[in-house]
C-alpha cells in the first residue's frame, strides 16, 4: 500500500510538472505582452522597458522557465504583475471566498442529486421520472448567468428578499476571515448564488445515478434481496445504491476539482470576489504569475481528488484491488 501511494505521488508530481510547463509556455506564447496596457496610461517606451525588466520578462524564455521552476520548487509563485503583490496571498484569499460558495453548493448537489437519482430509477416510467429528468436537463443546459439574472430580477429587485451582489453588506467589522463568514448577513448573501450553482450541478449526479441504478437493478442480487422480503426502500437505498455509486464518485472528484476554480459566470453575475473572477482577469491582463498559480492550484486539487476517488473506490467496491501485482484490476 505504501509503495502504491509513493508511486502515485511520484506520478502526480510528474503530471504537475507537465501541467506547469504547458501553462508556462501557453501563457507566454499565447497572451499579449503584459506591459502593453501601460501605453494607454502614458508610459514611454523606455519606462515600459523598465517595467519589463522588473517583471523579469527581458530574459530569454528558457531562462525565465528555469527561474520559475526553481521558484516554484521552493514554494515561491512570484508577484502578480497587475497588483504587484505576492500571488500566494491573492490566491489564498480568493480561493477561500470561492470555497465558501462552492462547498455548500457541491454538498447539496452531491447529496440531493444521487438521492433523487435513486428515486427516479425506483419510480421508473412514472410522471415523477419524466419530470425529474426534464428538470435535470433543463437546469444543466440553461446558462447559469441567465438563471442567475432571473433570480436576481425576481428575488433581488422585485421582491427584495435577497441581496444581489457580493459576500456581505458594507461597512462591516471583521477581525479575520471566519468573522466574515460566520454571520447571518453572509448566509443571506450566499443563498442566491448557491441555488444557481446547485441547480446546475444537481442534474449530473442525479442522471448518472439513475442510469447506474437501472443497470444494477437488473442484477441477480437485487432479485435475491426481493426474494428475502426486504422492503423496497431498503433494497434501493442500501443495496442497489451502494453499487451504483461508483460513477458518481468519479464525477464528484472531477467536479470538486473544477469547483475550486469557481464558476466564473456566477462570480461575475453576483460580483462574488472569488478565484474564478480573478483568473479571468489575470488572463485578460496577461498576469502570468497569477494565472499560472491559480491554474496550478486547480490542477493540483483535481489530481489529489482523483487519487482520493481511487482510494474510495476500493472501499465502495471490494472488487477493486490495489495489489501491486495488478491481479484484481
Amino acid at each position: 500500500m505504501i509503495r502504491l501511494i509513493v508511486n502515485k505521488l511520484l506520478q502526480m508530481l510528474f503530471t504537475l510538472w507537465v501541467i506547469l510547463t504547458v501553462l508556462f509556455f501557453l501563457f507566454r506564447l499565447g497572451l499579449p505582452d503584459p506591459t502593453v496596457a501601460l501605453v494607454t496610461d502614458g508610459l514611454s517606451p523606455e519606462d515600459r522597458a523598465l517595467v519589463t525588466e522588473r517583471f523579469g520578462l527581458d530574459r530569454s524564455l528558457p531562462m525565465q522557465y528555469v527561474v520559475y521552476l526553481g521558484n516554484v520548487a521552493t514554494g515561491e509563485f512570484g508577484r502578480s504583475f497587475h497588483y504587484n503583490a505576492p500571488v500566494t496571498a491573492i490566491v489564498a484569499e480568493r480561493v477561500a471566498n470561492t470555497l465558501v460558495l462552492m462547498i455548500p453548493a457541491f454538498l447539496i448537489s452531491y447529496i440531493v442529486g444521487p438521492l433523487l437519482g435513486v428515486l427516479l430509477a425506483w419510480k421508473r416510467g412514472s410522471r415523477l421520472e419524466a419530470g425529474g429528468i426534464t428538470a435535470g436537463l433543463v437546469f444543466r443546459s440553461a446558462p447559469m448567468f441567465w438563471v442567475g439574472m432571473l433570480l436576481i430580477m425576481l428575488f433581488g429587485i422585485r421582491l427584495g428578499w435577497f441581496p444581489t451582489s457580493g459576500m456581505r453588506t458594507f461597512p462591516y467589522e471583521a477581525a479575520h476571515f471566519f468573522d466574515k463568514i460566520f454571520t447571518l448577513n453572509f448566509l443571506h448573501h450566499l443563498i442566491l448564488p448557491t441555488i444557481v450553482i446547485s441547480l446546475y450541478y444537481t442534474g449530473l449526479p442525479m442522471l448518472i445515478m439513475r442510469n447506474a441504478m437501472l443497470e444494477v437493478m437488473g442484477e441477480d442480487f437485487i432479485e435475491f434481496a426481493e426474494a428475502r422480503g426486504l422492503s423496497k426502500a431498503r433494497i434501493m437505498y442500501r443495496h442497489a445504491a451502494r453499487n451504483a455509486l461508483l460513477p458518481v464518485v468519479t464525477q464528484a472528484a472531477i467536479t470538486a476539482g473544477l469547483a475550486v476554480g469557481g464558476q466564473v459566470v456566477v462570480e461575475v453575475v453576483f460580483s462574488w470576489p472569488g478565484l474564478g473572477l480573478e483568473m479571468f482577469n489575470a488572463v485578460r491582463t496577461s498576469d502570468y504569475p497569477l494565472a499560472q498559480a491559480a491554474f496550478m492550484l486547480m490542477a493540483a486539487i483535481i489530481l489529489v481528488l482523483n487519487f482520493a476517488a481511487d482510494v474510495v473506490y476500493g472501499r465502495l467496491d471490494p472488487r477493486v484491488s490495489y495489489s501491486s501485482e495488478g491481479a484484481g484490476g
Binding site: G42, Y83, E93, F170, F270, S271, P273
Partner: protein
C-alpha cells in the same frame, strides 16, 4: 440562298462584336488603369464583446471604403493584442482605438503630442507616424508659451494643420452617461471626462436623509494604492481623495490654489509656491515645506514613470523659507501649474523617507497617511473601500457628508443593479446603452449626461501605402459616416469628432478646422484628381509613378 446569307451573317457578327466591345467600354467608363492595384486594407478594431460600438463602426466604414473601390478586411482583436499591434509593433494598416479623457489631458499637451514627430518610435504615442515639421515646431513653441492666450493661438493653428493632413480620423467623443440616487443625495457636480465621479462631488453633495455616507459603485479596481506604483486612473481617483495636492482643478478646469496659499510665477522658469498655514497629516504631524520638497524629490528620485510627464520639466525644488517652495524648471513649461502641481501628491516625509524601494512594498505595508480632505479607512481588494472626512482639513467645513464607501462589482451590470436596488448612491463609470432607458424610468434615479474630451479615432499607418498619400487619407475621411455611427450605434449619445481637442474643452478646441463630411462623390473626386484610377470591376489603382 446560302451564298446570299454569308455577307449578312458577317455583318451581324461584326455588329455583335462591336456592340459587345462598346458595352465593355461603357461599363468601364474609365481609361484602362495603369498603376498597381491598391492592396487590401486591414482595419483593426476591438472585439464585439469588448466594445460593440467600435466593432460595428468598423463594418460601417468598411462598406463605404469598398464603395470607393478599396478592398477592406475588418479584423476584430482582443484588446491587449490590439494595443500590441498598434503601439508596440506598429504592424497595422488602420486601427480604431481611443484615448480616455483624464483630467490632466485637458491641457492640450498630451493629445497634441500624439501627432508629434518626436513620438513615432515603437511603443510611443504616435504609432501612425505622422511627421510635419511645421506642426512639430509649433508644438515646441506652445509648450514654452506661458501666456494662455498666446499659447491658445498656437494650439488652434496646430489643430488646423493636423485636421487637413488627416493622419487620423477622430470619429466621435462619447458622452458619459451616469446615474445617481436622487432620493438620498442632491447637488452632484458634473465634470468633463469624469462625469460625477470627480474630486468635487463629495464637497457639493447634500444628503437628503439620515444616511450621510456617499456610496459609490464601481467595476474598476485600483491596481494598487501605492502612490509610487499605481499606474491606473482607478488607483489615483481613489488616492487623490486622501492625498492632498498644491493645486486642484475646479469643475471648470481652472487651477485653484489648494494646499498652496499662493502661486507666483517669478519668471518663465521659476515658480514660487507659498503653502497654507496649519495643515496636518492624518496622523497629526504638520505639513511643512520640507514635506513638499520631499514629495517632489521622492517621485523624481524613484523615477516614477507614471508621473514623469509631470515632474519631467523640474530641475530643482528649493526651500526659500518656512512657507515658500521654489520650483526651478529646466525650460519654460506652460502646463506646470495646471498639470504638474495638480497631479503630484504630497507625501509625509516622516513616513516615506524610511522606505528605500517603495515600489516593492507588500500590500499590507503600503502607508495610507495623507493630508487630504478625506482619510483612509479600509481597502478590501475586489470588494470594498472606505474613506472618512478628515475634520482637521481646512476644507472639512465645506463637506456635508461623513465619508465615502466604494463597493466593487464584477461588471457594469452589477453596478447598475446596485443603483436600482439602492445599494449604491452613484455610479463611478458610464452606464451601458441598454441600462440608460431603464434608469430613466426609475423614480429614484437621475441620469446625467456629460461630454467627454477623450476621443475614439481611426489612425492610419503613414509608413504604408496608400496612407502615405495625404489625398487618400482625405478621401477616406470623406467616406466615414460619423452621423450614423453616433445616431445608430451610440443612440445619439456622442458628438462627431474633427479634432484631437474636443469641443467640451472649449478654451483649446478649434471649431474651425477642416471637416470631412460623409460624401462619397467628393471622396471619389479627390482620388481622381490625385491620379487614382479604377478598373472594370471598380477596383482602385494607384497612380502610375
Amino acid at each position: 440562298m446560302r451564298k446570299a446569307m454569308r455577307p449578312i451573317c458577317t455583318v451581324l457578327l461584326l455588329v455583335l462584336l462591336l456592340g459587345a466591345g462598346a458595352v465593355i467600354a461603357l461599363a468601364g467608363g474609365e481609361p484602362e488603369p495603369e498603376g498597381e492595384p491598391i492592396p487590401e486594407i486591414t482595419l483593426f478594431t476591438t472585439t464585439e464583446s469588448y466594445d460593440p460600438i467600435r466593432y460595428e463602426a468598423a463594418f460601417l466604414i468598411q462598406d463605404a471604403w469598398e464603395e470607393l473601390g478599396f478592398q477592406v478586411n475588418v479584423e476584430p482583436m482582443e484588446f491587449s493584442t490590439l494595443l500590441q499591434y498598434f503601439y508596440d509593433e506598429q504592424d497595422f494598416d488602420a486601427t480604431i482605438l481611443g484615448w480616455s479623457g483624464r483630467v490632466d489631458r485637458l491641457d492640450p499637451q498630451h493629445f497634441l503630442g500624439t501627432l508629434h514627430g518626436g513620438q513615432t518610435d515603437l511603443g510611443a504615442n504616435n504609432p501612425g507616424g505622422y511627421e510635419n515639421p511645421e506642426y512639430d515646431a509649433l508644438f515646441t513653441q506652445q509648450e514654452r508659451e506661458f501666456d494662455p492666450d498666446a499659447r491658445r493661438e498656437i494650439v488652434l493653428q496646430m489643430q488646423e494643420i493636423a485636421a487637413s493632413d488627416a493622419p487620423l480620423d477622430v470619429l466621435f467623443y462619447r458622452d458619459e452617461v451616469v446615474g445617481y440616487n436622487d432620493e438620498r443625495f442632491e447637488n452632484f457636480v458634473a465634470m468633463a471626462g469624469e462625469a460625477i465621479y470627480n474630486e468635487w462631488t463629495p464637497y457639493e453633495v447634500t444628503p437628503l436623509g439620515d444616511d450621510l455616507t456617499l456610496t459609490i459603485g464601481t467595476s474598476q479596481e485600483p491596481d494598487t494604492i501605492n502612490p509610487l506604483d499605481s499606474t491606473s486612473v482607478w488607483g489615483w481617483k481613489f488616492m487623490r481623495m486622501y492625498y492632498d495636492k498644491l493645486v486642484r482643478l475646479t469643475p471648470e478646469i481652472e487651477p485653484d490654489p489648494w494646499a498652496a496659499e499662493e502661486i507666483i510665477e517669478v519668471d518663465d522658469r521659476t515658480v514660487d509656491v507659498i503653502i497654507r498655514d496649519g495643515m496636518e497629516f492624518h496622523d497629526g504631524e504638520p505639513v511643512t515645506v520640507e514635506d513638499i520638497k520631499f514629495s517632489f524629490d521622492y517621485f523624481i528620485e524613484n523615477d516614477f514613470a507614471y508621473f514623469r510627464p509631470f515632474f519631467g520639466p523640474i530641475d530643482e525644488v528649493e526651500i526659500i523659507d518656512s512657507s515658500t517652495v521654489r520650483f526651478h524648471l529646466e525650460e519654460p513649461y506652460s502646463p506646470f501649474i495646471t498639470v504638474t502641481l495638480s497631479q503630484i501628491v504630497i507625501l509625509p516625509e516622516h513616513i516615506w523617507s524610511e522606505i528605500d524601494n517603495p515600489s516593492d512594498l507588500a500590500p499590507d505595508e503600503i502607508p495610507t497617511v495623507g493630508s487630504g480632505p478625506f482619510q483612509f479607512e479600509t481597502y478590501d481588494r475586489g470588494e470594498y473601500k472606505a474613506l472618512s472626512v478628515f475634520e482637521e482639513h481646512f476644507s472639512a467645513g465645506d463637506i456635508a457628508i461623513d465619508g465615502i464607501d466604494y463597493i466593487t462589482y464584477a461588471d457594469s451590470e452589477g453596478v447598475f443593479t446596485g443603483l436600482v436596488t439602492g445599494e449604491i448612491d452613484m455610479t463611478a463609470w458610464r452606464m451601458e446603452p441598454g441600462q440608460i432607458s431603464i434608469a430613466e424610468d426609475e423614480d429614484h434615479i437621475s441620469v446625467v449626461t456629460v461630454g467627454d474630451f477623450g476621443y475614439y479615432h481611426l489612425t492610419y499607418n503613414l509608413r504604408r501605402e496608400p496612407f502615405n498619400d495625404r489625398e487618400v487619407r482625405r478621401a477616406l475621411a470623406h467616406a466615414i459616416d460619423r452621423e450614423t455611427i453616433i445616431d445608430v450605434l451610440l443612440e445619439g449619445r456622442g458628438e462627431p469628432g474633427y479634432s484631437v481637442i474636443a469641443p467640451i474643452n472649449s478654451f483649446w478646441h478649434n471649431p474651425d478646422v477642416e471637416r470631412f463630411d460623409f460624401n462619397l462623390d467628393r471622396a471619389r473626386e479627390i482620388l481622381e484628381d490625385a491620379g487614382y484610377t479604377w478598373d472594370a470591376q471598380g477596383r482602385i489603382y494607384a497612380p502610375q509613378s
